[in-house]
């Protein structure tokens, strides 16, 4: 296997994590990863060095953006097969954060996940989204404020009283 393929393969677990958080449905998330990999492999010869990791996140982010266009008037879709329910040790907390993420607009959710979950730098996220760093920072600030409010709104009992 080529070095290129090896570096793509090494990214699959992280891409799946990002896609799951972005799309919230396990089946659709893996569809996104699969489409990302197919595109990446098809462009193997066009890839002239650079950061494979950022490039893969870029493809996935763009695919998800296309997928979500004009969703409001679309019929509800469900995966044909039962998905594996996400097993997690902190189930209650996990549902809260997933619900809070769901309230974010697309580009804010992507910034928040790329920075906080995937550990990318502001510069990398700016390149992925094709925007200036200042835009990444304002999206991140808005996303954090929004998620914080959503989490606190859901669990008023845990709010610290000063």
């Amino acid at each position: 296997m080529s070095a290129f393929r090896q570096s793509v393969e090494a990214m699959i677990p992280a891409l799946r994590r990002y896609a799951r958080a972005l799309a919230r449905d396990a089946d659709i998330a893996d569809d996104l990863v699969q489409d990302t990999l197919v595109r990446a492999l098809r462009s193997e010869r066009l890839f002239l060095g650079g950061d494979v990791r950022s490039w893969l996140y870029t493809i996935l982010t763009n695919l998800n953006k296309n997928r979500r266009r004009s969703l409001a008037r679309r019929p509800q879709f469900m995966p044909l097969l039962e998905n594996n329910p996400d097993a997690s040790g902190t189930e209650a907390e996990g549902r809260d954060i997933a619900r809070a993420l769901a309230t974010l607009v697309e580009e804010q959710r992507a910034v928040l996940l790329l920075v906080m979950l995937e550990g990318l730098s502001y510069r990398e996220v700016a390149d992925i989204q094709g925007v200036p760093i200042g835009t990444v920072m304002s999206r991140l600030a808005r996303a954090r404020a929004h998620v914080k409010a959503a989490l606190e709104g859901e669990r008023p009992a845990l709010r610290r009283v000063k």
Binding site: P13, A14, D35, Q76, S121
Partner: protein, 260 residues
């Protein structure tokens, strides 16, 4: 060098948490946080948020990678494997019964195939109620119908034989699809039950079959969607999934044999 007396900005608080702050400014921010409990509380909440994200999603990265994401398979997709995926999906679809798969509807997110299937269902709804002119070319001119649609659409349009499920070809028509022409075939049973098979160019690479139902004006339809060599297929008809997948399976089997 930065002046410790310069107030710390909102951007700097974020950069501090994300390790994007120049090292020489970190001390200033820490001093600031000690004196500003509101900002310290916010910074702490962002760290808790990051922990919650990892607690919620890290397990996905630790799962074994599903077979369908195997790079070797994606490079040279084996027809047999693709076929196996769809056949297995259909089987599970029929056997699944009421074990909660519908409950996913509420949490489900839309996908690229949505506009596609919606177009197909709109056409289905529009023409199945049509008694006198449901099609442009009648089913008894099957060869002409196939040749005409193939020529206009640009891919091999094939009208499958569905008589083993009691369905007879009523005929077909050409429709505007999402990115160009679409072919539309209608079938009917002796009891008047109608199914339609819609095809159009599809950009998605996904081979997985998807199911949806649509409820409009009191009429409820079910549809199965899949893609095959860049062409998307939507079989629309009843919400009885056993019946629907029986028909879809026949359509899939025949188009697979035809093109593979």
């Amino acid at each position: 060098m930065t002046d410790p007396k310069i107030p710390v900005t909102e951007d700097e608080l974020h950069a501090y948490v994300d390790n994007e702050l120049p090292a020489e400014r970190r001390g200033d921010v820490e001093t600031w946080l000690a004196a500003h409990p509101d900002d310290a509380e916010r910074v702490q909440s962002w760290r808790t948020m990051a922990e919650a994200l990892h607690a919620r999603y890290d397990h996905v990265a630790n799962e074994p990678v599903p077979k369908r994401l195997d790079l070797e398979r994606l490079v040279q997709p084996s027809r047999r494997w693709v076929y196996g995926t769809i056949a297995a999906t259909l089987l599970a679809f029929i056997a699944g019964g009421g074990t909660g798969w519908l409950a996913h509807g509420a949490a489900a997110t839309p996908s690229t195939f949505q506009s596609f299937t919606e177009d197909a269902l709109d056409a289905h709804r529009l023409y199945v109620v049509e008694v006198r002119h449901p099609v442009e070319v009648p089913g008894n001119e099957r060869a002409h119908l196939q040749a005409w649609l193939t020529k206009r659409c640009g891919w091999d349009v094939f009208a499958p034989e569905l008589s083993s499920t009691g369905l007879k070809l009523v005929g077909g028509r050409l429709l505007p699809g999402p990115t160009g022409p679409a072919s539309f075939l209608m079938y009917e049973s002796a009891s008047g039950e109608r199914f339609t098979v819609y095809t159009a160019k599809a950009s998605t690479e996904t081979t997985q079959m998807r199911y949806t139902t649509q409820d409009k004006n009191g009429a409820k339809e079910g549809a199965l969607f899949w893609t095959e060599r860049g062409v998307g297929y939507v079989v629309s008809g009843t919400t009885n999934r056993e019946r629907l997948s029986q028909v879809a399976r026949l359509v899939y089997d025949q188009t697979e044999k035809k093109g593979g």
